[in-house]
Symmetry: C2
């Protein structure tokens, strides 16, 4: 019998520890990212989970032979830390020795050590495991981590409870045909288009809830801005006066997230050259005002992608804002759970948030009264009996409430100015890709 006490954990590379070892011996694990022979000596670029550290191999100071390693090998190295202003982080390692942990069977099929990968999206996805080792490609996912963590910290600090709700469901929440079907022990089931029903249910339990979980849309679009499986950042909150309370919460949350990224992810912001948006407030216009701004047809029921781009260009130029809220969409195009405007039921208490030309959020106030919800379903020719389980929440009582959903990959795509949303998804699912 052994005892495991958890006190001696495998040490992980730390940039701070590396720098503060100046003049001293330092030991680290790494992947051989690149070897650049300079004749008398060589640069061995060491890739850790987050950084690329420059090391210098000189035959006279290193006890091991550089010919025993190659790019893609995983090694443990020792050396002396010294200042070098031209190195990535101002310091480099003069190698004294290394030991080989593993050797790849083949060379990388892509230019993993290039500053930018520079291959087609198709090649990038085909060799995804290699592509993501490129420091610029992987940086997007540290930024994703930061967006999630910033979102979570803001939510928890504001007394939202984190929930996890099922993705195998009996009915789609958002309507339409873009839903994946499966058999669940003989029953027809679907993959959740959103956690809508469940997060509303949880408002009656916890007042305020949030969820970070996958969301499924069986859309056949093959565009640079659609994924069939994405990560949804959702929240739902009780006791609101109107949807503007939800929009205020989102505004405060976004400010927090960007401050959090600025504080903790400067390394990745530098690698990718990303610029964080800076703002005090977000302008908000109605759908009709938006249509007027883009000079569109007043009989339209929704904004198309070009409208979103035009609107963002307008608000960037006129108001210096990279964000804009669009409110009061036509009720016709919004799901059955959305509250209609009391004065003009043709418009919904519903909003989108656009960021740098792209819709990143849909949200609004929901119906909380049982009779109002049943009445709206009947007007929409829906059968309330099919939603008996969902309607329990209204039947047993709900506070006035609202919420929203954010697409994680969309916000990261726009933060990093990525040409394709697939670069913001580790293993993107689209109409052509079920692998990797």
């Amino acid at each position: 019998m052994k005892n495991i006490d958890g006190t001696s954990l495998i040490k992980q590379f730390s940039l701070d520890e590396f720098k503060s070892a100046l003049g001293n011996e330092f030991n680290m694990f790494a992947c051989v990212h690149k070897i650049k022979s300079m004749g008398q000596f060589a640069f061995v670029m060491l890739r850790t989970g987050r950084y690329v550290i420059q090391s210098v191999y000189e035959p006279e100071t290193c006890s091991d032979d550089i010919d025993s390693i190659k790019e893609g090998c995983y090694i443990n190295v020792s050396g002396t830390v010294r200042e070098e202003p031209r190195a990535n982080y101002g310091f480099e390692l003069l190698l004294s020795g290394f030991s080989l942990l593993s050797t790849p069977a083949e060379e990388y099929p892509l230019h993993v050590s290039a500053r930018k990968l520079g291959c087609s999206m198709e090649a990038n996805l085909k060799y995804r495991s290699a592509a993501l080792r490129n420091p610029n490609e992987r940086a997007a996912f540290k930024i994703s981590e930061g967006v999630c963590e910033g979102f979570r910290r803001f939510m928890l600090a504001n007394n939202f409870t984190e929930i996890h709700t099922p993705k195998i469901v009996a009915a789609g929440a958002e309507g339409g045909a873009n839903i994946f079907k499966l058999k669940y022990f003989g029953e027809d089931a679907y993959l959740a288009q959103s956690p809508q029903f469940y997060k509303q249910t949880c408002v009656a339990i916890f007042d305020r809830v949030f969820e970070i979980d996958p969301v499924y849309r069986a859309e056949k679009h093959n565009t640079t801005r659609h994924l069939n499986e994405y990560t949804g950042l959702d929240f739902e909150m009780g006791f609101i006066n109107d949807m503007y309370d939800v929009m205020a919460m989102e505004t405060a949350m976004l400010k927090y997230i960007f401050a959090f990224l600025g504080e903790n992810y400067q390394n990745e912001l530098n690698i990718t050259g990303a610029k964080l948006p800076v703002f005090d407030e977000i302008p908000s216009v109605t759908f009709l005002e938006a249509i007027e701004i883009v000079g569109g047809n007043k009989n339209k029921h929704d904004l198309d992608p070009q409208d979103e781009v035009k609107l963002c260009e307008y608000f960037a130029k006129e108001k210096g804002s990279e964000f804009v809220f669009i409110t009061h969409f036509p009720s016709l195009k919004r799901p059955f759970y959305v509250m209609d405007n009391k004065e003009d039921p043709r418009v919904a208490e519903s909003f989108d948030l656009l960021f740098r030309g792209l819709e990143i959020t849909t949200g609004g106030q929901r119906i909380h009264d049982y009779n109002e919800q049943v009445g709206k379903m009947k007007r929409m020719n829906m059968n309330p009996e099919e939603f008996e389980s969902y309607l329990q929440i209204h039947k047993y009582g709900m506070p006035p409430h609202g919420g929203l959903g954010i697409g994680l990959e969309r916000i990261v795509m726009k933060l990093l100015d990525l040409p394709n949303i697939r670069q913001a998804s580790l293993f993107p699912r689209d109409i052509n890709h079920l692998e990797p």
Copy 2:
């Protein structure tokens, strides 16, 4: 046009603010949890997202009529905070007025305000939206939140990167028939049994990764300890010497989680009467030693539920430990990616962790060498070509690595001593329940 600046957010009940308003006016949103008439006055129990606060209604001090509200109503109330040692948190609110926000269409079908719900699991699930409003039932999900948050904080502090990987996959990672199938744009696809392939892929990218996401098992078991959709806490780490490094990481992580719960979730620990495990180290025995302890048949290839209970009873009694690691399971019963023991390939570098009679973790060291992995697949009569995409990670190089998966609902079930794992899942999916 409006501007949304996010500075005035809807105020949420805070226990600290409530207490420190002693002697002063206090305003809060709540659900009327219970009204207890005492003749001359009444207790109105106010349920917030986390607490139940006692308030007192007296006709002479309150400007509104108590007959205008009933259980299940959502209200905004004002009153004066005063000390009352017999109240839940030592303070109560003497009501001065309230306004009604919403009224339920029907009374609760369950005893929501009882200390324990006291209905069958079937009734609990049928009226899930009501059941979860019971303070004891909902407490389990604050504990779930705490386990996730503790896990995440520990992981991030130890330089693990948070990832989100697809749940629609081309092949199951864990083998066997317990996998949900679906059509993905005409292709055969499955719901992920674990993020195994993807978290291994990400070790080559980030060195250390973790994921909190749903996991699917199409098992037809209808037991108190199985769910068909559950939340997996997974991590995977590079540069290990052997699986004991993974076990040490788990031990340290569990200590952190329980300390985190103790610090932040005392309210729910009190409500549920849960006892946190206290330990310095976790005993670890081999599968063969475990079989000997339970007096089982040496030709067994796995532990059955009774063995797990017996082993935990033994280690609780003999070593005072509520946890025990079981290592070196027969290779035969472990998936193809598991590393076999170098001296005795009949046993795997693989472990389970048992907690209070139940397996909560499976983990181990994985194969990182391409030829070793292809060789093992061939010996197991698998076709490596079908795993071409996965095998890229070995082909282009991987450090020695290992990891584990924890079932969130199982750890919560055991922490709270719940008789049924369904009480640890907000909306449980089992062979009979696709709703709510």
